[in-house]
Symmetry: D2
């Protein structure tokens, strides 16, 4: 690919609290950032409902996307310095880094659960479909957009480019761990990114790490583990997520039942009908969702109104561990809820989180990620858990946390259903 990309007359920068500055030197990158599809990421929080647990976590996917781009840019610079990089891949890699999350919608997790959408599919559609991003990419040469999409979709032939964006230690994860730690304010999530960059080597089309940097990699693995349990799987965040899911679910049910909304959710109707087009999807952001949640507090349906009121005012569900004895009593509990006039379909929800600090075969969230390889002084590769005592001892370990969420306040208010209340309290042990 002998294409040459236009440079900006003068480097542009974004002030960034995590990387100090994001540097942009290519016109294409600058123009992609300016598209409506990319600007929309400013209106989608990086961590969904986490801001209700950690009030600092109000940062959006916009800053994260810039951060992933910046890390990719710096790592490629190091690879180029060592002559380990094919420069004709640079712009493809940078675009993929910048755009890897562009298909995310508002509160993706809940949204996808209720409507069966998939943000990765939308990322592909945005890059390949009728968008400004697509037009800008194709101006670089026919098929360029497809290559960028392939990198993100992990089907691109150059595995090195793919692994820069998605692997056990990729630009995406490095940015989000540091960024989410910064904005939440937690002391986990820090690791020596520059040292990891310096021990990165490329071999057989994959990124490997010099043995001498093993401790920095260990530290990254442990940071990731702590961030999962301390931040990403925090039970209060999951409670907010449960309510959010139920609201979307209830609205969809009501719509199909022909409910007359006081505030009809125009932007959501097509998704209720399962016929959402790309241009409709691109109009969705967290403002739309929050606007309707706010408005729906006044709807006549008591479930929709109550759940919206809970979400907007952070009157969340409480939780208990979903122990084996509770599993046995779940039907009985649902019955007691129903008798007391609380619909268990909306007010009793089991939520499960599961994560492994490091797994040889299923090492991350997604099954297909490759294990981390260390480059030994003799040039051979050893899988991390063989060399690291700490990682070795936790490899394959899987921790699961299952909780039952319910509205404790409603249970305590059940004065007219005292026996139901007592039964519920007994089962839940509250």
């Amino acid at each position: 690919m002998a294409r040459s990309f236009q440079k900006l007359n003068e480097e542009k920068v974004f002030k960034d609290p995590v990387h100090r500055y994001i540097h942009v030197r290519d016109r294409l990158i600058w123009d992609l950032i300016g598209t409506p599809e990319f600007q929309r990421l400013r209106r989608i929080r990086q961590l969904g409902t986490t801001f209700l647990t950690f009030h600092g976590a109000e940062h959006s996917r916009f800053g994260h996307s810039l951060g992933v781009y910046e890390i990719a840019r710096r790592v490629i610079d190091i690879f180029k310095y060592r002559n380990h990089w094919d420069d004709s891949e640079t712009m493809i890699a940078l675009c993929a880094a910048l755009l890897h999350d562009v298909g995310h919608g508002p509160f993706s997790h809940s949204f996808e659960k209720v409507f069966g959408t998939n943000h990765e599919e939308y990322t592909q559609k945005i890059i390949l479909g009728d968008t400004e991003i697509h037009r800008l990419l194709e101006e670089q040469g026919e098929g360029f957009a497809g290559k960028v999409a392939d990198v993100i979709g992990k089907t691109y032939p150059n595995r090195l480019v793919v692994s820069l964006i998605s692997s056990q230690i990729d630009a995406d994860r490095m940015d989000y761990l540091l960024r989410d730690a910064y904005f939440t304010g937690v002391s986990y999530g820090h690791f020596d990114m520059e040292r990891i960059w310096r021990v990165m080597r490329t071999q057989d089309d994959q990124i490997v790490f010099k043995l001498s940097g093993m401790h920095a990699v260990e530290d990254y693995i442990m940071s990731r583990y702590q961030m999962y349990w301390q931040v990403y799987f925090h039970p209060v965040t999951r409670s907010a997520e449960v309510i959010l899911t139920q609201i979307l679910h209830r609205a969809k049910v009501l719509f199909h039942e022909g409910f007359r909304f006081k505030y009809a959710p125009f932007p959501l109707i097509k998704i209720f009908k399962g016929e959402m087009a790309l241009k409709d999807y691109l109009k969705l952001d967290e403002s739309v969702i929050l606007y309707f949640f706010q408005a729906w507090q006044e709807e006549k349906d008591p479930i929709l109104s109550d759940l919206c009121c809970r979400f907007m005012n952070r009157r969340l569900f409480k939780y208990v561990e979903f122990t084996p004895s509770l599993i046995e009593s779940k039907d009985q509990l649902a019955g007691a809820f129903r008798d007391a006039g609380i619909d268990p379909d909306y007010y009793l929800e089991v939520d499960s989180s599961s994560n492994s600090p490091y797994d040889l075969y299923r090492p991350g969230e997604e099954g297909e990620r490759q294990p981390i390889q260390l480059l030994m002084p003799d040039g051979t590769l050893h899988e991390l858990s063989q060399e690291s005592d700490v990682v070795g001892s936790i490899t394959g370990m899987r921790r699961t946390d299952v909780k039952l969420y319910y509205p404790k306040d409603r249970v305590f208010e059940l004065s007219e259903h005292a026996s139901c209340r007592e039964q519920i309290q007994k089962i839940l042990g509250i």
Copy 2:
């Protein structure tokens, strides 16, 4: 006031990136944070449109309000340790610190400009009116809400309590300088808050500073100055603010002209009519505004649609210095705009920022703030600029920055009005 306030069984904390932890030990504080009126601050950004310049500045007034409370709490602890504090004022001061910004609406600056509302009035109304906050405060004793409102309104008789919340170096400013520096990522805005706390003394019902801490105070004054010019008055932020103001203005004009909105702005109609009640005001947040701005991109009115499109996609106005020669040519410029079919009422806007690093008589944004007094070793008070060479030399200095904002892209597209374009370019020097 012999009232005793209920303590929480166990201290609660919020993880905060600026102060590490916010500590809550009083039930009243905890309950106030849980009210819908306070939770609403999560949906109002601390720095309005600044996130379009510094992408990290997505933090809300919620975190800032907790931060002001926390600083007040810690300073009061120090005062108590030195027996300089009347403990019966503690809860009044803490409530005032927590609630001082509760009346802010979405994008207050523009909003107040167009609709003539005032966030300080709304703070008073929320504390004194029909709200959960009011009920919680009055449960502490009749008149308690009034006292809290008086502290915020600066009419409370104990001047020490007032100056803790609003003075040259108050809990409000200390928090926002540190917080805004943290989230934008700029290196200005840092100062040694703990040292300032340690040299704070109370004398004649005001907070004064030991001479030995003068340098820390100087540093704070300079930090504040830099934050004003580098962050708060950033011309790109002001450009976004100009557009936002024009959108609200246009929507109001259209409403009064009987324009048939495709997306009728229900939550704003009362404010268009000038008859907004407190409960309507409390429904306003940035989601509402952004929802309509997004939707209005499809309205038939080309001005409204274009401005909304600009705001949502960050296609902002450019600017030139509003020099004396430009002042003279302004009418001519407006004429050329009109001839070219660009309405100068919406597309040509002068914006002015003005600030003084330290002023003896009008030392801050508001005229009435008192000068900073240093406590000399002999017990007398000297005004800061008398002792500090640096502050002395900049006292009374006022810097004003006036810029003219306009849509550069539109001007360059004026192919059918080439002569207008040339005239405009000549006047603007572009």
Copy 3:
């Protein structure tokens, strides 16, 4: 003990990069810091030879001692707030925290190895012997010094006071991990100290940790593990330590052989003879050692002179892993060294480091430390590794690193002993 301790008229502070400020409110603490015995800690580096690996690690035991005092002070404040603390123990605990390392000499590790001294014994002697520290302590009441010494010696009856200063998570370790990370600049060593403080509870005379803080404790354990391997056991530091030990050893041997030093080491002569008194010990600091090492570069003994030259100019030994095959060849290697004219007693040294990230029975450096107990919601105590998957999987794991140190430069210069050189190179695999 109804003794009342004199407060300072005004709190004094030390600016500290780790804890921001060290606060001193008691005259006794202030006076202890001012004693010659305590000031001497300014001339003894916290991390011995580590500054030759991490150039930032030039900090002394003086700052660390203040830091341990400050942590103890803050933790006691929290315990007092919760009524978990007997205030009559406060000054004993603070003095013990401040003085726990006062017996350290220059480069303690090597020094103790060669001369058989023990810094813990000297700490006891300084507190109980003829010193200013002793006089100040005894002014507080007869037997007060003894109590302070007992806390440091872990024989004090109140186990809570002991465990504040020496346990798995004590003020000593919390300070040194944070401080050493700060000065070396490594990103390991950070953990959420304030959270750990907040989940600390006292039960059965020991410090336990609420289950909800388990992750912060895990993070501390992992930080400690990383600091051991990345900083404390760094092979370059150990190389410097090996040379230092050999210098002291050589000087001692030469002294006993009646060698005529050009620069006679007056301050060390008594220790060579094994008859060092407390007042002689207190004259030793790193300046003394470095002064003689510098001077001894000019001594006629080639071993002493060469080793000193190496230490002063950082021409350290290189190392190889001490593998089983190398163990077998060690005698052969020593023979080849001897044949080549390099004395293996001084130029071939095996050094071993060993550490376990967490051990139930021998959890720290010293055998007697108690395991970490978590306080469960039902009030029972569970040992950490039972609850923490991560800690559970690494409990009892022990990692040992043995290296062989030798002067690579000398080996390569062996032109006149080519066959020795080849043999050595073959054995060492270099």
Copy 4:
């Protein structure tokens, strides 16, 4: 100069708390760092006696020298990226940056005052004389050492290279402000170095700054001002400096009087005689000085012994402002001291510090530094104080602080000379 410099096979790094990593890619730089003359900087503190005021300030000139090199390296990289740099000057500039302080001796300030030496002269001698550094430099080509010396001596023809190392905003000052702030722990001294780098331009052989970066430069000027008064001129540090000077002065006097030292200061004798050779100078470091100060506590001369005891145990002189009325009474005061048996030549010392935050003509410590030039959008240069209100208002302002130091403890102990004591107390107002 078509010389090509040897690269290292693999980049080497030093972990640095200020710049994260110091990167070394050239064999020459690596070898220079390894010379005895450069390693000696590890034994000379960056801030002399400041560690007695800020206990964290124990860092040496070694780390600072690496830091200056690293800043120069990064700035040159930026200049190269913009084609503003003649690459044949790179190694000269890097060597000059690394070696600019290599002539510093122990406690230079006092040392030079008493012995009339000059560290800048010694820097020249070390680069040009019989040293390992000289040999390494000359291996790069004859005359190379001379060029490096010329850059440091400011006589090198390429002014751009000179101004990188010594100007108002040079690599030296940028490093020391950030480094000294880091190690002392003060919150002053921070500024946005990366932004300053980015707005640096080269014009007419000097470094200028784009107008858009003016605020970052302002912030740097103010940081520097605060560091001077809060750290570098701290009165406690100056008190230690006064005592140190008096010790050296006393030892010299005693030597010339034929005093029989118990601990004869071999390494200092030549300097007492004024005939110190370079190789003798290179043996001096702080260990030597501190070793003798420690030992001299036992000398029979009461002045020497007392002053050494004060320095080692931090029993410093107190101070009062040297007011005009005190100036008048100085002789009287000296008389009272003499009558009371306290030698005013050693125990009564006036010390003066003077600094200007920014000066057009004498802008720094040294008279010859050039003013800071801003590069305007039209390509012209404007001197900083013309454009910056803040800097403009403080330009030329000079602040001087004169204090009188004396041993307060001795004065209060004057029980046998009650009338002297009263007279002294009256004059000093204590």
